[in-house]
């Protein structure tokens, strides 16, 4: 008796933003086996960065690796290039970078949360979250000049200053957002039907997180305080800006939602601290010369640890650039998380992974 059903999700599917392909082998809609195919977005950016673009241009190119966390990519590349060049950038530039990274985190997390709501079949919550998210897009536009693809960090610093009126606007809008966020936390944690869909679903336990080396909100939802912001102080002064780790214990979709929501509070605190304590200084440092040697850099993107490796050979063009995106680390855990779940939960689980395949396959 043929009892197993192969369900393809992707490349084009309404529950997906990106082309990726999942093949679920299901029995009575229960997922027995899941296969992920993530290579649709491979464009060859690393090769182009090492052949086609000058190393100063590369920070704009790597921004196009991913539209959701472009600031993380540009910043991470800028930092690794600064390490190659042995540059010291001003504290103000560091603070501004933190500001935009956290604003970006707010928009990315809210997008992910709304996507989970939509994929759980909760359309009104999707609309609500999207409505509340718009403030972060407006702020990003005010600070950087574009809604996405900000090109804010460059090698040596940042491109734009934070105008006082913009700073005031940021603080005001954050104040408006705070009660809205409380409302969202209430809905995500207390709605009964959403709980049915999310609680105990797509569980990745603590052991599996270690075994499959997951990172980001993924790992934190399972109770492991992995966060680059917690570990490194050499590039950005996170602790100074008031960072602390947020964890949950259960490791299911629900926990991942809550981790993201709680991180928004932390992000808001960091943004407030950054604006209130913004030091004076240069936006960018001038430098001459070409990169040489090797360097690595890590940065906490909204999805987890972003890792850059660069090697210069004393020419305009880098010899090697390697990007390891957080979703790449999570793919193994992602596939594992589907087992023994209903197919009906699969879109919500995919949403809760917040996969970013354009980062992964570049």
């Amino acid at each position: 008796m043929a009892t197993q059903y192969n369900i393809p999700v992707g490349a084009q599917h309404i529950a997906l933003l990106e082309p990726l392909h999942f093949k679920f082998t299901t029995e009575n809609e229960k997922i027995m086996k899941a296969e992920a195919n993530v290579g649709y977005v491979h464009r060859g950016i690393e090769q182009a960065c090492c052949s086609k673009f000058k190393f100063r241009q590369v920070s704009f190119v790597v921004g196009r690796v991913c539209g959701l966390c472009s600031i993380s990519h540009t910043t991470c590349y800028s930092q690794v290039a600064e390490k190659l060049m042995q540059l010291d950038i001003s504290k103000k530039a560091k603070y501004l970078r933190m500001l935009v990274i956290e604003l970006d985190r707010i928009h990315s997390h809210l997008l992910c949360l709304s996507h989970v709501a939509e994929n759980s079949g909760f359309e009104a919550l999707f609309m609500k979250t999207m409505a509340y998210r718009e403030f972060s897009m407006e702020l990003l536009e005010a600070v950087c000049g574009n809604r996405i693809q900000y090109d804010f960090s460059i090698v040596g610093g940042v491109t734009r200053d934070l105008r006082p009126d913009v700073a005031k606007m940021v603080l005001e809008k954050l104040k408006i957002f705070k009660p809205q966020l409380d409302e969202l936390v209430d809905i995500y944690s207390n709605n009964y039907t959403l709980g049915l869909k999310n609680k105990g679903v797509g569980v990745i336990a603590k052991d599996d997180v270690y075994r499959l080396s997951a990172v980001g909100p993924f790992a934190r939802a399972a109770g492991i305080p992995i966060d680059v912001r917690n570990e490194t102080e050499d590039t950005l002064p996170w602790k100074e800006a008031g960072f602390e780790v947020v964890t949950e214990t259960t490791g299911d979709v629900y926990a991942r939602n809550l981790v993201r929501l709680k991180e928004l509070y932390v992000s808001m605190r960091i943004i407030e601290n950054v604006i209130n304590g913004l030091p004076e200084g240069d936006l960018a440092v001038d430098f001459k010369g070409f990169p040489s040697g090797e360097a690595i850099n890590r940065l906490e993107a909204p999805r987890g640890e972003l890792f850059y490796y660069a090697k210069g050979n004393k020419t305009q063009i880098l010899e090697r650039l390697k990007i390891k995106a957080p979703t790449f680390s999570n793919v193994a855990a992602m596939v594992h998380g589907f087992h023994d779940n209903e197919y009906a939960s699969a879109p919500a689980i995919i949403g809760s992974y917040d996969p970013c395949l354009s980062c992964t396959s570049r």
């Binding site: 009892t3 059903y5 192969n6 490349a11 009575n28 809609e29």
Partner: protein, 629 residues
């Protein structure tokens, strides 16, 4: 009249013996002739029936022959039990032999008729002779393709006519002792049929069928014993029992008879033998499921329904069958083999028939008769078609039937009509189901005791849920059958052997014609039979465009429109072809994925033992209630 009726008993026996010796070509002619004659006789009998039941006695010598035949059969069973080393078989047979010997010594020798032919018997004659005759003709071709010796092929055909004879006798018997013999004859015939292929599984299943049906025989003996020793009854005949029942008030004999029927009707916990009978060649399944064997169950209950109606025995039977209806429907969902699905749905629908018979109101009895008739024809068609599917297309599983619509449009048409006649309005089986729901709804109003009301409400819920589960099952099968890859230019029916084609055409036309003729069939055919059973008239009236039976109204215009829309529409959908319309491939997220068909499946492995335990509990309940009353 009596000689013509007797010819229904003698003719099949003669044919059965002749078939053993005649060559192939002659056997073919004889089978077809015998079928036509038998069908003709049974139709003539019904057509020329009088108001009074026909009663007739047989010479005294037959009594002795019957007794000897009884012991001979039991000896055969005991011998089989010993040879196959099955203690249940020979143990039960030996027990029966003992009881029979004791009863034979105490049997009262009054003046009474051994045979009693009323409208119900005539109704059964038509079903038995026409449908079984079609199966016999079909078997001519089917058994030809079987891998066995020429003698065994003749023997198979011969057994079919033996079976017909036994069933005819059984529906006419009035004396319980005779009834016991014919009951045992059908048991033995089914035993021989099931072990026809002589492999290990067949033998095992045949033994299961044998010992389970022995319990039915034992129950009949129990009924005879209680009849003899209960003051007031004395004479073990149905007609006498039924007339005396209201004054005597002891219903234990009826409880025993009901058990005999329920065992033959394969209700839980005795469902195993009918499922096991699948190992036999397909005509056997058709024979057992459609017109003979299992139909003994509703037949017995219908026969005794005036005596048990409204008693706790009937209540327990109703509870049991309501439970079996839903349990068997769930059991059918768990199956994938086409024949097994049919078998489980037979059990479920039998439960419904028995339930309606036990309820015993005019509409309920009419509904039961309609269910018996339409289920007989449809199931026969579906089983014979399953045989064609196995032999011609080599398909046994529903999941492999996904290509059927393209390789065998005619066969798939038959499956569609067969299943729809069990599901869609206005086919008979649907109306039967509808009547059952409406009648059960009315019981609560008629009966006063609160406990009974509660039970009838519970039963309603079970029937409703079981009906929903059954429709789920039919969707599943029809769905797998209607699936196709693309478009053919022209529908071309596949070539089938003339015998296959002829029998299937006959059954198809019968189902469709009877459906169309339903407004005339109900007052003209079913209502008189029902009136005989409940011993009072069944009011049928045409009012406007509605047919009213007792208190249930049957609006005809929606029914006719529904017939045009749904069954014909679905059949048309299978063969329609749109022109000037472009074709696109199916959406699969832009990927090229391998397609595999699978609908939801269910497993009942864990639940089955509980079904059996519940069934045993109900059977004990029937006896207990019968004893206490």
């Amino acid at each position: 009249m009596a000689p013509i009726i007797v010819s229904l008993f003698i003719l099949p026996v003669v044919v059965s013996l002749l078939l053993l010796f005649l060559p192939k070509a002659a056997a073919k002619v004889l089978t077809i002739l015998a079928t036509l004659t038998l069908s003709g006789i049974s139709l003539y009998l019904y057509y020329s029936r009088g108001d009074q039941p026909i009663q007739f006695a047989v010479p005294a010598i037959v009594d002795k022959i019957v007794l000897i035949a009884d012991f001979a059969l039991l000896a055969y069973v005991i011998a089989q039990g010993f040879l196959q080393r099955n203690i249940l078989v020979w143990g039960l047979a030996a027990l029966q032999a003992g009881i029979l010997a004791y009863l034979a010594m105490n049997m009262p020798h009054g003046e009474y008729m051994q045979f009693y032919v009323d409208n119900l018997s005539l109704f059964m004659f038509i079903l038995i002779n026409v449908v079984s005759g079609v199966i016999a003709i079909y078997s001519l071709k089917y058994i030809d393709e079987e891998q066995c010796s020429p003698f065994r092929k003749k023997y198979f055909l011969s057994t079919i006519f033996w079976f017909i004879a036994a069933m005819n006798l059984l529906s006419a018997a009035d004396n319980l002792e005779y009834f016991y013999l014919f009951f045992e004859l059908t048991t033995i015939a089914s035993y021989l049929f099931i072990r026809f292929r002589l492999d290990k599984e067949s033998k095992q299943n045949a033994l299961t069928a044998l010992w389970m049906n022995q319990i039915g025989g034992l129950a009949i003996l129990g009924a005879i014993a209680y009849t003899i020793f209960t003051p007031g009854y004395g004479v073990p005949t149905f007609s006498h029992l039924l007339t005396q029942a209201p004054t005597v008030g002891v219903i234990l004999p009826f409880a025993f008879l009901a058990i005999a029927g329920l065992v033959k009707g394969a209700q839980y916990p005795f469902s195993k033998w009918l499922i096991g009978a699948m190992v036999a060649p397909t005509p056997v399944s058709a024979l057992l499921h459609s017109s003979t064997m299992v139909k003994i169950a509703p037949f017995i209950i219908l026969k005794i329904s005036p005596a048990i109606q409204g008693t706790p025995v009937a209540t327990v039977i109703i509870c049991l069958t309501a439970f079996v209806f839903i349990a068997a429907a769930i059991g059918a969902l768990a199956q994938d083999t086409f024949k097994k699905i049919l078998a489980h749905s037979t059990i479920a629908l039998l439960a419904l028939m028995i339930l309606m018979s036990a309820v015993g109101t005019p509409v309920a009895v009419t509904a039961a008769l309609m269910l018996i008739f339409f289920h007989g024809v449809s199931k026969c068609m579906l089983f014979l078609n399953a045989g064609i599917m196995e032999h011609v297309f080599h398909m046994k599983q529903t999941s492999s039937m996904t290509k059927l619509a393209e390789v065998g449009p005619y066969t798939s048409l038959i499956v569609a009509v067969g299943f729809m006649s069990l599901l869609l309005p206005p086919f008979g089986a649907f109306i039967g189901k509808w009547f059952s729901i409406e009648t059960l709804g009315t019981i609560g109003g008629a009966v006063i005791t609160p406990g009974y009301k509660l039970i009838s409400a519970l039963i309603l819920v079970m029937i409703v849920c079981g009906g929903a589960v059954l429709s789920l099952l039919y969707f599943k099968v029809l769905g797998s059958m209607i699936s196709r890859t693309g478009e053919r230019d022209k529908v071309k029916f596949e070539k089938l052997h003339p015998i296959y084609r002829g029998t299937m055409n006959f059954l198809l036309v019968t189902v469709l014609l009877c459906t169309i003729a339903l407004p005339w069939l109900i007052p003209g055919y079913f209502a008189p039979v029902a009136a005989t059973i409940i011993k009072s008239g069944v009011p049928v009236a045409f009012e406007g465009f509605a047919l009213t039976i007792d208190n249930v109204k049957l609006p005809l215009i929606p029914m006719i429109a529904a017939f045009v829309l749904l069954p014909l529409g679905i059949i048309a959908a299978m063969f329609v072809r749109f022109k000037n319309v472009d074709r696109a491939k199916e959406y699969a997220c832009g990927e090229k994925v391998e397609y595999n068909f699978a609908s939801f499946y269910f497993t009942t492995e864990k639940a089955t033992p509980y079904f059996v335990y519940a069934g045993i509990l109900f059977f004990v309940g029937i006896l207990l209630v019968g004893y206490l009353m």
